[in-house]
């Protein structure tokens, strides 16, 4: 079985603004093929970071967006019933192990707990993946690396990673970038001027302050990028902010009104 590695490569350099020493630390982890976990709230740059690292290391990247309906077979592979018999199809994890890709399981805790157990043998010195149903044991390609992401502020207990799983990873703790960095990111990513970018960040902080007061998550960097993109395209900032920053995150009328007011007060 052969799969084209190239199709999984990141060819264009993604823009990534480092927040700290994460780039060198990741390189060290990769050199030693240590499994990596990136923690942090949604839209704070976790996926972008991994994409950037794959590009920097020039390795293929296979990303799996996990969800609650996902089972081990979705990762590993399964037999498909066909009119004239069955056929085995590798899952993305298996493919990554075969071709030596970085396998990025995004929002891993969204998947059911039993699912996460299949990754265990890949994370220790064995670096193997048993395909029980097929009766095959895969030895991971030397370039293979496992990366998972998760959002610790958001899940319920039942979705939390097992201690035995956590203990298998090195971890990066991400958060929304500080004001100055986040402003730079917006400006660089969208070409919006710094002053306006700073105002967007200020509005994001207003929402982040309301976390726990009726908001589960604040405004993410991703949403700020959306707003900046709209403004850059000529949309009135007041409209862009309402549409990209406020409406997506809440249906609570009081919060909406407060954030709308913050927008008006910021863009005088």
């Amino acid at each position: 079985m052969s799969t084209d590695k190239e199709q999984y490569k990141v060819h264009q350099q993604p823009y990534y603004q480092a927040q700290g020493k994460e780039v060198t630390l990741y390189e060290a982890a990769y050199r030693n093929r240590l499994p990596v976990m990136v923690k942090g709230p949604t839209g704070c740059g976790k996926s972008r970071f991994i994409e950037y690292m794959a590009w920097k290391l020039d390795k293929p990247l296979i990303t799996v967006a996990c969800n609650e309906d996902m089972t081990a077979s979705d990762l590993v592979g399964r037999y498909l019933l066909e009119a004239n018999g069955t056929r085995w199809l590798d899952g993305p994890l298996t493919t990554a192990a075969r071709i030596g890709a970085i396998c990025y399981l995004d929002e891993i805790v969204e998947a059911r707990q039993d699912t996460t157990v299949v990754i265990h043998p890949l994370t220790d010195h064995r670096r193997t993946l048993p395909l029980d149903k097929k009766g095959e044991l895969i030895h991971a390609h030397p370039d293979f690396q496992l990366v998972i992401s998760y959002n610790p502020g958001y899940q319920s207990l039942m979705k939390d990673l097992k201690q035995s799983t956590k203990q298998r990873f090195t971890a990066f703790d991400f958060d929304y970038p500080d004001t100055a960095l986040e402003t730079t990111i917006l400006a660089k990513e969208t070409g919006l001027d710094e002053a306006t970018s700073a105002k967007l960040v200020k509005i994001a902080h207003t929402a982040r302050n309301l976390k726990g007061h009726g908001l589960d998550e604040g405004i993410s960097t991703r949403l700020l990028v959306y707003a900046a993109t709209l403004i850059k395209d000529g949309v009135d900032p007041l409209d862009a902010c309402r549409m990209a920053l406020v409406r997506p995150i809440t249906d609570d009328a009081d919060i909406r009104e407060t954030l709308d007011h913050a927008i008006d007060a910021t863009f005088a």
Binding site: A83, G153, S156, M158, H213, E257, T258, A262, A265
Partner: protein, 793 residues
Amino acid sequence: MTETEYQHPLMKAYWAQLDTGFEPIADVFEDVMAEALAILSREGIDAYLEAARVIGKLGRGVQPMLAFMEEWPTSAKTIGESGLPAIMAMIQRMQKSPNGKAITPFLETLAPVARKLRSQERMGRYLDIVLDFMERTTGSIHGHHTTFPSPGLPDFFAQAPFLLGQLTLAGMKNWVEYGIRNYRGHPERQKDYFSLQSADSRAVLQRERHGTLFMDVERKLDLYLHGLWRESEQLVPYSTAFDEMRRPVPYYDKLGMRIPDVYDDVILPLPLGEGRGEGAALDLALSVDSTLLPHPRPLPQGGRGEIRITGIDRYRVTLAHMVGHRRWTEAQIADNWSPFQRMAVEFFEDCRVETLLCREYPGLKRIFLALHPKPVEDACDPETTSCLRHRMAMLSRALLDPDHGYGDADLLDYVRRFHDLMATGIASTKEIAVLALSYVAKTRRQSDQLARVHFADTVVDYRDDNRQMWKFIEDSDDEEMFEKEKKRTPSEELKGLPPRHYPEWDYHSQTYRPDWVSVYEALHPKGNPADIDKLLLKHGALAKRLKRILDLLKPQDKVRIRYQEEGSELDLDVALRSLIDFKGGATPDPRINMSHRTNGRDISVMLLLDLSESLNEKATGGDQTILELSQEAVSLLAWAVEQLGDPFAIAGFHSNTRHDVRYLHIKGYSERWGDDAKARLAAMEANYSTRMGAAMRHAAHYLEARPADKKLMLILTDGQPSDIDTNDEQLLIEDARQAVKELDRKGIFTYCISLDPKADEYVSGIFGRQYTVIDNIQRLPEKLPELFLALTK
């Protein structure tokens, strides 16, 4: 009549105090007491029971007493228990008039009315309206004296919560006034009017409704403070339009930010051009404060050519202004300055904080400028009038408004100096004061001393009264006096309630000594709840971390897991779809099963604190005592458990021989983690010894009564069980061990958190494997909640 027997000695004592034979009271007694105990102080409980007793003896049956017992505790929660005498006085007035029948309706809506009123001050206003109403409508028909009760009063009470949801107190007063004036001679029509049946009653209600009511925007204002300013502060409304002489002004103090109960929209003509003529027109609109008008009319629609500042925006800038002071104003010593000088400093400082606020949110400027008066430059005649206020208000305007258009040279000079100073950064209250004093000196006039003061257009009504800006050296020792009064010794607190007796285990003979120990229970004395809030604030970062864990623990109910290749039952929908796919030649989904999982959380928690003398020692590695660290830890734990919603109680104990084990109630199950519990925790003191077994047994009888799946008793202690009347060290250790066994049989899981570095020698003997020794006591505040979370995961 039944003879009611209460098991609990406290309940028994309370019941006796009530001195009643009413059966309906007996039915609800335990429930209302549970609520009352959770809300009222010890004195408050006494007053409550006494008041209920008095009402029970009015000769009006059980109804008024029942209503009072049910309504008062929650009312006290909102207006404070010291509001009781006024309520009782009202009841006496009704009793002595022919309106005794209205007592029950009055009491029945007391709690919802109190919730709407929010402060004692406003409750007082409400009672004034009621009294006036009662006196003017009682017995006035055909000129007879006090023979007829007020016909509309009972209906009015029934409507009061609704009315207060629609109107300010001033509006309610106007509505009542209309009814009295128009129907004084018509008892039937009074009834219609005050029960909101008649058409004009409703019409007047509509007319009196205006503006933005505080109660309607309270949450928005909380969000505003949190979101835009990262502040959380109690907001307390005051009623407008009662003080005809002096209008109340916003202010803030330890208890919160005080703001009006209503703000009307303000509508101004749009300034078309510059110049005096326009300015004058603007003044006129501004100087009319509609909340002062006897019959405020709804303002005309803000159309084109007008600026409309909404009520909520007025609230927002009022809060923002106070936030500005809290951030940037340092209190100055007032003693050395004259009232004039202080006024000038206040104007300058107000402008400084507003300038800084506008740097944060430039959009505030529009609102400030719209609300700030724009005095006409030559409106004040310095020959006849003191013009200082006028000068200051103009300056204030000019400091904020680049288009002020004033020509006075001194004013222009100081505007420039102000901006130069602000250009250096945030400046300081001190620096601004220097500038203000120099301005007063520079522009001083003989006539400033005149008694006649020019007031028009000088009041900036979103600004607070600046009381926080001044320190007075002369009378700064009230707080100490207050401290002294509060201190009480625990033994004083305790006597008077009958003890409960518990057995103690004698390991020599392997038998219990029956009724060996006397446990006295009492409410822990109260301190200042704000101290606990401070501790919580100090651990903000830790709380944030805990919050994440807490979110993970939040209970979920039964969940169905679909799309499983292997599961407990077939998921028909999916199976059919798969089959169809397969028959149609497409690839079928093999995940055709499903299963179920329950994940409820039903835990009751009891936290038992060792409050023995040794806690007063300094913890190693810091200068806090073990007691202080425990206090921090317990605050955090309580906060955390409250977040989870697990019912929990907190109690402390210490002992002084077997005849005197004290069990101090800090928080009960039905009580919220609110100011009362915090106040008790804040006053926590350490004394005497550690007779642990008895305390555990007593705590257990509460936990036992809880209807929970899992029951957890956490015991926080710094040493081994001991007491001064027991020489054999092993005795109380063995008794505690026995207590753990008893509890285990009752389905209570005991867990000990020990702060004793030498605990290893005995703690496992008592608690088996259910203990943790915390070596680094400094880390107790984070360890305790973490431990709890780990235990209940």
